[in-house]
Subunit: 257 residues, 2 copies
């Protein structure tokens, strides 16, 4: 059986209209499905309103105890539950989750090396038994970017990683399509030309695209991550705009073995 | 089959040690179980930190749009997910929920009469099919005091009411014991004497206790609510301290038909 794991990031979360459109389209997506959402700029905005200063090192967020409270409120509470309520209004029987719920995502606090990232989780294990039970009950899991360490500690965790780990876990039992929604049409030959879409990347053309400098910078870890997921059993990874990835007529970049 | 529906309020939520003790005891409670928690003083404290003024009329909270955001963050996010993580650490496979999740609790916004309570929900319906599926999957539902209107709107809802409505819903399929945990040993003959516990209240002695003024003030709506639950199929309602209601040797007030 097929499962779609769809990940949306800040460009949708931060835009009320884009999120509303996404919710309508995701509700209509056929078959078994899982949604994973990031948090956008909301956590930093709330911190400022609370008189707290977001801690960043080299452009990366440090999750101290106060920041963890804020992201737990914002990702696990406000954003997640409003997405759930929005999906319910579209007759999509959503169930909002962190990785602590039903012990689905076990993680450990990232060890301190050069940087102490604080309460940030690296994923150890995804337990798919509860996800199977949810699918059988007709439910649609909606994950925010939080996990736990099984000792009572919630952990802030990268949403891209959560999506790929859930996709890998589910691939034990399902044919999984992992869909990363971002702001561009897909991987582009020319980053400034939306019409220069590369429709299909596979091991056969990936090295060449990297050697030619077509795939560079931030796109390399994204694609390496995609190939890792495929190497661990995910059938397909798609990268593109939400409105295109959720349509029957697929537009975007498809990554396969 | 038996189900315990346990409700805890602010006196436990606001006290780190009391909550920790409760979590350990609840995790050990045998049989199927559901936890419902209130929010305590946390929402008002966060509002003040955010520079917002809690709105009260006649001592009752008015849930305007900003307040709803705060309670969604605090009840549905911070409190609920920390309880879930705490229970997971005690090997209790908790699943945090609002009434919007899996569409378990449908409500409508309270109509405006003398007071506009804002985004407050009155419960219409509890759908127990997902709760049955969660029990079958070995999961322990943990509800915060939020519902939804099925049109995308989350609603702040009284936690006592959520507990009794879930208990009534489950009584269609289970023998339900509803346990209200509060700060006293139970219903007392003398409110200042913890040793004057009334161990059993039923229709046969309730009128007399009211006529004698033993049961008065805020205890009357609590007990009327308990008898309503029993009238709608709940096997038993218990009122008392958390540490007593969760022990095998029950100490508290038991209310039956």
């Amino acid at each position: 059986m097929k499962v779609s794991v769809v990940k949306i990031g800040g460009n949708i979360i931060d835009n009320v209209e884009a999120l509303d459109t996404f919710i309508q389209q995701f509700a209509q997506l056929e078959g078994l499905k899982v949604l994973v959402h990031g948090g956008g700029k909301s956590a930093s905005a709330l911190m400022k309103q609370m008189g707290l200063e977001p801690q960043m090192i080299n452009g990366r967020r440090i999750t101290d105890a106060e920041t963890l409270k804020v992201v737990t409120m914002m990702y696990g509470g406000l954003i997640n539950k409003n997405i759930v309520a929005g999906l319910q209004a579209q007759h999509c029987n959503a169930l909002g989750l962190t990785g602590a719920d039903a012990n689905i995502i076990e993680a450990h606090k990232r060890p301190v090396k050069e940087i102490d990232f604080g309460f940030v989780g690296d994923v150890d294990k995804v337990n798919i038994a509860p996800l199977k039970a949810f699918f059988e009950a007709g439910l649609v899991p909606v994950f925010c970017a939080l996990t736990h360490d099984n000792q009572g500690q919630l952990l802030n965790t990268n949403a891209d990683t959560i999506a790929s780990q859930i996709a890998v876990g589910l691939s034990e039992a399902y044919e999984v399509s992992l869909k990363y929604c971002f702001e561009k049409t897909g991987v582009l030959m020319d980053i400034n030309d939306e019409s220069s879409l590369i429709a299909h990347i596979h091991q056969g053309n990936y090295s060449g695209l990297k050697a030619d400098g077509v795939i560079a910078d931030g796109m390399i870890p994204k694609l390496d991550n995609a190939f890792d997921a495929i190497g661990e059993g995910v059938a397909e990874v798609q990268i593109g705009k939400a409105e295109n990835l959720l349509q029957k007529e697929f537009i975007g970049t498809s990554i396969t073995a």
